[in-house]
């Protein structure tokens, strides 16, 4: 990340910030999408994070930390989006549906479906740690630093995320459910 661009943007240069936005937005969106598992929510989180980052940029003390700083803002924007979404998904009816058709019968497709369902059962905080660690490849210490949480908490969230995935995947088959529509 170009330190000069960050400094210029920090002093109010919108064009410099636009350049920065184009440099980081792909990564931010990819992270948001993987945390939220929803394109619309991820777009909202991305936009909210970019606008908030612009507003708060003058408070950024170390220009070299811009990328980690804006990812932190993004993760919090994801928390907000998740909260809004959950507010109304909470009263959605759970409907029985047929199992996935898996037309090619491949284990990979079935595994992916299972993982998707299991992943959605994780808390948003666990997903954030999981994505930052496994997708961005950040060491847990950096994940903790980025999120502003103790390293032990980050480690614990990752542990429980993995455990949650394992439990969901190895549990006895239950009636397959899906969220109802909307909300």
């Amino acid at each position: 990340m170009d330190r000069d661009l960050v400094e210029q943007a920090r002093s109010g240069d919108r064009e410099a910030f636009a350049v920065l936005v184009h440099q980081v937005s792909d990564s931010l969106y990819a992270v948001a999408h993987r945390i939220l598992r929803d394109s619309g929510l991820a777009e909202d989180a991305l936009q909210n994070a970019l606008v908030l980052a612009w507003r708060r940029l003058p408070h950024l003390r170390d220009a070299d930390r811009f990328e980690a700083w804006i990812h932190r803002i993004l993760v919090h924007a994801c928390y907000d989006e998740s909260q809004r979404s959950r507010s109304w998904t909470a009263n959605v009816r759970v409907l029985p549906i047929e199992g996935p058709s898996a037309p090619d019968g491949s284990d990979a497709v079935a595994d992916r479906d299972e993982l998707e369902r299991a992943y959605r059962l994780l808390s948003i905080e666990q997903r954030a740690v999981f994505v930052l660690h496994h997708y961005l490849g950040l060491p847990l210490v950096e994940v903790a630093d980025l999120l502003g949480i103790p390293a032990g908490t980050a480690r614990s969230r990752l542990h429980y995320a993995i455990a949650g995935l394992r439990d969901a995947l190895t549990a006895e088959p239950e009636p397959i459910v899906r969220e109802g529509h909307l909300a």
Partner: protein
Amino acid sequence: MTDDRSLERAARSFIEAGPTRAPEAAVEGALLLIDTTPQERDLRIPLRFSTMTTPARVAAAAVIGVLAIGGASFLIGRSGQAPNVGGPSPSAPQPSPSTTQSATPLASSSPSSAAQVDYSTIKGTVLMEHLGNAPDLSEMPTTDYHAERRRLYFMDPATMTGPTAREFLPNQPPTGKLNADISSDGKKVVFMDTADPAAIWLANVDGTGLRKLSTACSCSELDPAFDPTGTKIAFVHLEGAWRWSRNGAQLRLESRAGPSTSWLGVRDLTTGKVTKLDQTVGPSNDAVPEQPSWSPDGKKIVFNRTTWGSTDFPEHGVLQIVDVTSGKVTTLTAQMTLPGDADWSPDGSRILYTNYPWSSMGSIGGLPNSQLVSILPDGTGLLGLPAGVGGSWMPDGRILFQAQRAAGGGYFWIINADGSNSRPVNLSGDSLSDLPQGFSYIPHWIAAP
């Protein structure tokens, strides 16, 4: 996939799959918002002033005194002024004016922060459709099912705050209310309830004269819309099914006993006579005509026909126009995935609608981002407008809507028909869209008599 190593490998592969590029429209939308958003800057006050001589101290005290007196006079002078209704603000967020595919803009739909627009020159009231907890925060926030919490509220554009919202006909009828329409003279309101089967009601704007228009029938009647004279309504007749519209989060079409059919009808409000528009009959209950809106000459009605998939979810839809006299139905060619909430402009030149309409889909969150668009009545000239929902025409030909969350959402905005001059109705109003205060989603502007 049970041992830790293979699980972690599979999980890594799973998390790596997915989009790696941000949608251009989202990034451009954010940059547009940033264009009008100021940065937060610390107010820097030196901890210690440098040593001053006595004459300098006297001079400084005099300057401070003059500034204090001047400032107080200014504030006193302003206190009697009317609130800023929809006035421009350089710091106000602007809805993203993302233009849809194959759009033919009438003009630039970019919001302008420079133009001065005084919406207070248009007198009137906003009737908003509302879902969830009361906007005055008088109810405990809950996501539990409450059929009656689909309500209508009046809001004064000069305040646009939850505590000043006034509920229309509280507990009458004792069900929820939705899909309201206002007569062109601004004196009457028609709406549907959330009962099973659903019925249509009429009342005066002042809350008097409430009466049920639907007669005893195993059918539901939905989505009433006044004709330009206010003497007739168009509505949806739905038989053999019930459209769940109770709290918006559980929209679906449920089967009911009896023959399955749906069509648009016109009811004379004086005689009660219903005229069935035969050519709007749905081929089955998975293709229901919905949300009619009249052309200003009263000759045509635009509506959307939603096709409900096997999962109960609205799968796709089309926008259609029926000629009231001949009954001929035409389908507009420029379509979005799920058009709805159509509203014919007061001058008849364009039809405003929403792709992924909230009222049709009955929801607030977790939906694809909604897009306002308008189209010429012949199906050409698709014009992309800001990301938003619940668009309705104002009497002066501007558009009132709620912006999507990331684009100044939670507040009602007004734009010109070409998408320009985006302005919030009230800069100091409350957010009207969150769990504690419920979710306002379709505003209607009632012109002052």
